[in-house]
C-alpha cells in the first residue's frame, strides 16, 4: 500500500508508543497536529460551536497524553484508540452520568510484547482503511454516519430521506464487506 493515508496510520501509532514509553512531547505534538484539526471538524459537524469544539479537542488530546500508558498496539491502532476517546468524550457531554466503561486491559509492563501480533493488528488497520476506500459510496456514507458521526439510524434516515430499512441494509452490507475483506479482525 502506498496510499499516503495508510502509511500515516503506522507512523501515528509509532508516535503514540513514543508518548507512552518516553513521554515524548515532540511525538505528542505530531499527534496533535494530525488529529486536533480532524477532531475539531468532527465536533463541529456534530453541532458544537467553534470555541467549545476546541475546548473538547483539548480535553481529548490531554486524555490521550494522560492515558497513553493504556495504549496497547496488540489491540488498537492510534487512530482507533484516539477516536474512541473522542467518542466517549462527546457522549459524556450529552449525558447526565458518564458512560459506563469496560475494564481496562491488564497493565502493559506485565505483558511480553508480541511483535507478530502488533504488526498484524497494525496491518489490519491499514487494510481496513484501504477496504473502506473500496466500498461503494453509499455503503461508505452509511458507515461514516453510523460509526464516525455516531448518528442514530433514525436520524440518518431523516437526513438522507431514505427509509430506515435502506439505511440498516447499507450499514449491514458495508460491515459485511469489511468483514469479508478482514476476516481476521471481525467476528
Amino acid at each position: 500500500m502506498t496510499n499516503p493515508v495508510t502509511k500515516e496510520i503506522s507512523a501515528l501509532s509509532r508516535d503514540l508508543i513514543a508518548v507512552r514509553d518516553r513521554r515524548d512531547r515532540e511525538a505528542f505534538g505530531r499527534l496533535f497536529d494530525h488529529f486536533a484539526p480532524r477532531l475539531k471538524a468532527m465536533l463541529l459537524r456534530g453541532g458544537l460551536r467553534d470555541g467549545s469544539a476546541e475546548d473538547v479537542v483539548q480535553d481529548v488530546m490531554l486524555a490521550v497524553w494522560h492515558k497513553a500508558a493504556q495504549f496497547d498496539p496488540h489491540r488498537a491502532d492510534a487512530a482507533g484508540w484516539i477516536y474512541a476517546i473522542a467518542r466517549n468524550r462527546r457522549i459524556d457531554l450529552a449525558r447526565r452520568k458518564p458512560l459506563s466503561q469496560p475494564e481496562e486491559m491488564p497493565d502493559l509492563p506485565s505483558l511480553e510484547p508480541d511483535a507478530g501480533q502488533v504488526l498484524s493488528l497494525q496491518q489490519e488497520a491499514r487494510e481496513l482503511a484501504a477496504a473502506l476506500s473500496r466500498l461503494a459510496p453509499e455503503q461508505a456514507d452509511a458507515l461514516r454516519a453510523a460509526y464516525f458521526d455516531d448518528l442514530p439510524q433514525s436520524r440518518i434516515s431523516e437526513m438522507t430521506g431514505l427509509p430506515l430499512g435502506t439505511i440498516k441494509s447499507r450499514i449491514r452490507l458495508g460491515l459485511d464487506r469489511l468483514r469479508h475483506e478482514l476476516r481476521s479482525i471481525a467476528p
Binding site: V5, E8, I9, L12, R25, G29, F32, D33, H34, F35, A36, P37, R38, K40, A41, M42, L44, A53, E54, Q58, L62, W65, H66, R75, A76, A79, G80, W81, I82, Y83, A84, R87, R90, D92, A94, R95, R96, K97, L99, S100, Q101, P102, E103, E104, E124, A125, L128, A129, L132, S133, L143, R144, A146, Y147, F148, D150, P152, I185, A186, P187
Partner: protein, 210 residues
C-alpha cells in the same frame, strides 16, 4: 473467557457506543465487554473503523495559540484512574458499587438483591440466587438484560454462565433457575418494572422495587 455463548446484539452495542442506551443497560454492556473477548473485539473493530474514517476526514483550522495552550497543559496532573474489578465484579460494576462490596438485602427464599440505580429510564441491580432456587416467574414490560457474574442459571431460553447475557423482550415469560454449584450472582437491568406472578402482589412492587 472463551466459552461465552450469549452475546449482546449489534443494535444494543451500537446504542451503547452512541451513548443513547439508558444508564442501567450501558453498565451491563460495559460489564459484558469486560468479560467477553469476542464482543470486545466487535467493539474495538468499530473504533478502528471510526479511526480510519477520522484519519481520512476533513480538518478544521485551529485558532492561533491552540497548540501552545495544549503543550502547556501537559504538566497538569492526571485524573485518578478508574476503579478496577474485584472478585467476580468487573470494573464497571465496581464503579456502580463505588468500590465497596455489595450490601445485600434479603428478598425471601435465600434470594438477595442490591439495587445499584433506579430512575425513570430503568433500574440496575445485583441478584444473588442460591443453587437450585427459582426466581419467581415473571414477564417484562420492556427490555431486560441479565449478565451472569458467578454460577449459572437456566430458563426457557437456555443455560447462562459467567459472562453470558440474556436479552429478554416483553414477549418472554420465563422462570430462571440457578444452576448447581456456586450461588448465581447476576447483574440485571430493566427499563420497566417486572411483573411477578406469584411472589408479591403487584401493589407492593413499587415498595420492594423488584
Amino acid at each position: 473467557m472463551t466459552d461465552i455463548q450469549h452475546h449482546i446484539s449489534d443494535d444494543i452495542l451500537d446504542d451503547y457506543r452512541r451513548g443513547t442506551l439508558p444508564h442501567a443497560f450501558s453498565v451491563v454492556v460495559a460489564a459484558h465487554l469486560s468479560l467477553c473477548d469476542e464482543c470486545r473485539a466487535r467493539h474495538e473493530t468499530r473504533d478502528m473503523i471510526g479511526g480510519a474514517l477520522l484519519v481520512g476526514a476533513e480538518a478544521a483550522a485551529l485558532s492561533t495559540g491552540a497548540r501552545a495552550r495544549m503543550m502547556a497543559a501537559l504538566d497538569t496532573p492526571a485524573p485518578a484512574p478508574a476503579p478496577r474489578g474485584s472478585g467476580v465484579f468487573p470494573a464497571p460494576v465496581m464503579a456502580e458499587l463505588r468500590g465497596r462490596p455489595p450490601r445485600w438485602r434479603m428478598l425471601g427464599g435465600g434470594i438477595r438483591q442490591q439495587i445499584l440505580s433506579a430512575d425513570r429510564s430503568g433500574s440496575l441491580r445485583l441478584l444473588y440466587i442460591p443453587p437450585g432456587r427459582a426466581v419467581p416467574e415473571h414477564g417484562h414490560r420492556g427490555l431486560e438484560l441479565t449478565l451472569v457474574l458467578q454460577g449459572s442459571f437456566a430458563d426457557s431460553e437456555g443455560a447462562f454462565h459467567r459472562g453470558d447475557v440474556e436479552t429478554a423482550h416483553d414477549e418472554i415469560d420465563h422462570q430462571p433457575v440457578a444452576g448447581p454449584g456456586a450461588p448465581c450472582i447476576c447483574l440485571a437491568a430493566t427499563d420497566a418494572p417486572l411483573r411477578f406472578h406469584a411472589m408479591l402482589p403487584s401493589l407492593l412492587q413499587p415498595i420492594f422495587r423488584i
